[in-house]
Amino acid sequence: MQPSVSIKDLSLNFGNVKVLDRLNLDIAQGEFIVLLGPSGCGKSTLLNCIAGLLDVSDGQIFINGKNVTWEEPKDRGIGMVFQSYALYPQMTVERNLSFGLRVAGMPKDEINRRVARAAEILQIQPLLNRKPANLSGGQRQRVAIGRALVRDVDVFLFDEPLSNLDAKLRSDLRVEIKRLHARLKNTMIYVTHDQIEALTLADRIAIMKNGVIQQLADPHTIYNKPVNLYVAGFIGSPSMNFISGSLDGATFTADDGTKIPVGAYDFAAQRTGASKAVLGVRPEHILLGDAAQGMPFQTQAEIEIVEPMGSETLAWTKVAGIPVTFRCSSDIPLHAGDKVTVGFDIARGSLFDAKSENRL
């Protein structure tokens, strides 16, 4: 099948600064792609290029097989939702929704039909005659989505649509967007730096760093099999624990001499000889007390800090001399100073080459 959006060798410079460099990305019809990365990595820039709001320096952009590299934004079949909502403050919600259609000279009744449909989908019918100033943040964001919706476009672009909202609203709207996608089945490209949003919403996540896509894969793969140290550290909160050391055959020796058997690890490639490596293990894969008993690696540790988070507890300790976080049920009573046994299964961890930082 033809990709919905296809980006070929896209480069973009601001003056001398290369923000995007020969970037390639194919997005399938109806796919929900999340661009995830730290601030300044070029996510918005990429999205703006797709939308036609920035002139590319080099490369091409295809939407539904059509080369739109030089098209005006309105001719690309895209709708866009912005972080600051970007509602026209002097227009009512209804006119906000219909502005684009009116600009395009669409007949009145078609406009009304579309606005009504969008309002129904987003449940903003009662708000249609209000001005943006009289809406709450969540309502504004819904109107902003509605504005993309009425244009009946193939591709939705979202630029951090939820980051101006408070945590509670954010998680509610996240679910709404997910429902919307399930209902509309449009292609959606969604920029965020919130990994929870990325993990929960995406069909595939593209993790970016300095304008380069590090890994493009489904959330499960990204989370469990990060391709490099950067992705491993970036995804997951709290971060994956890293222990540096060296790898020789089936044994990983931490810098302080602790030996960790890694025979069960599923290496990407056959390898020989010893080399510097980093072992990564996620906080929730470190088990405690009885549960740790069956694990291939176990050690004694002292709890340093306990962070109760209601449904679960985060604890800080030291393994192989390195500070390590782990996560456990809040039913387990933990206190700073407690001595506990912790352990993990390397099969659920990751190993990275210390030099290339790539997954082994």
């Binding site: 070929k8 601001f14 003056g15 001398n16 091409q60 295809f62 080369n67 590299t69 030089w70």
Partner: protein
């Protein structure tokens, strides 16, 4: 690749891309190129001629400049402008800031005070000059009145006193301009994050110290705007002088713009006037270029 054919030619892109934007910018581009740059070049060109009443003269090299710098009226004008400019800039900013600070103290009748301070800005320099000339007239004005009232030693003869006449100009100039500066500064003050104030209070910084050490340096944007406005006014200073002192007593309150004007129109020596104008432009350029560089060049954007 299929798409490469649809890439528009560079020429087409140059003309048609954002066509309306380019059309809309024509007045500005034309003004800049024709009026500001064009007239500047015109000015500089004819300053090297011996044009009299009409700009038709022959090229005479630096003659006009040599004469200019040998003319004591010009030299006095330049010194006057420097002194007046420095005092006016400092005092306008200083008083503007002081008044803005006072207005910022949650005072009563704020809007009445503000209106009173601002209204002179609405009046032309001609009016300002006339009124102050009337007030400062040694016989009919304040001095005469006070003497008639019995204070026979009361002296306020600044427009008639060559050593004080610049201060007379200053009084009128400040009267006209301080209010606007105050409004700008007040806007700047109000734009400062509330939390900075709280932080300073918790730190135990006295209010005046907070204004000077913390708030003032934060108002860079406003200061730049204010300096541009005040500065351009100072360089062009003309109407006020004509209306208030007409350059006198003697030549003690002459300013460059007046010199330019006199030689261009009543003196019938355009070349001389333009040479003086060129020197003024040069001075502005010397002051502005570093600023423009910081403002526009330093950010490394295109």
């Amino acid at each position: 690749m299929a798409g490469s054919s649809s890439r528009p030619s560079a020429l087409k892109k140059f003309f048609l891309h954002n066509l309306s934007a380019k059309v809309a910018a024509i007045p500005m581009v034309a003004t800049v190129l024709v009026v500001f740059i064009g007239c500047t070049i015109w000015t500089i060109y004819y300053s090297f001629t011996n044009s009299k009443l009409l700009p038709t003269g022959k090229f005479v090299g630096f003659d006009q400049y040599e004469r200019l710098f040998a003319t004591s009226r010009w030299n006095v004008s330049v010194i006057n402008l420097l002194m007046y400019g420095a005092m006016s800039l400092v005092l306008t900013l200083g008083l503007g800031f002081l008044l803005a600070v006072l207005m910022d103290q949650k005072i009563r009748f704020e809007s009445a005070f503000r209106t009173i301070m601002l209204y002179p800005f609405a009046l032309s320099f001609i009016v300002t000059g006339l009124v102050w000339q009337w007030i400062m007239n040694p016989t009919l004005g304040l001095q005469g009145t006070m003497r008639n009232l019995g204070w026979t030693n009361f002296t306020f003869d600044w427009i008639a006193n060559p050593r004080m006449v610049l201060f007379a100009l200053l009084i009128a100039g400040l009267w006209q301009g301080v209010g606007f500066c105050m409004v700008l500064m007040l806007a700047g003050l109000r734009g400062v994050d509330e939390e900075i104030w709280k932080a300073a209070r918790v730190d135990g910084i006295p209010t005046w110290r907070t204004y000077i050490s913390v708030v003032l340096p934060m108002m860079r944007g406003v200061l730049v705007t204010a300096v541009v406005l005040i500065g351009s006014g100072i360089v062009r200073l003309y109407d006020l002088v004509v209306a208030l002192t007409n350059g006198g007593p003697g030549i003690s309150s002459e300013v460059p713009a007046k010199y330019v004007y006199n030689y261009m129109f009543s003196g019938g020596n355009i070349g001389q006037g333009l040479a003086a104008a060129t020197m003024m432009l040069l001075t502005v350029l010397i002051i502005m270029v570093p600023w423009a560089y910081l403002e526009f060049g330093g950010k490394g954007r295109k």
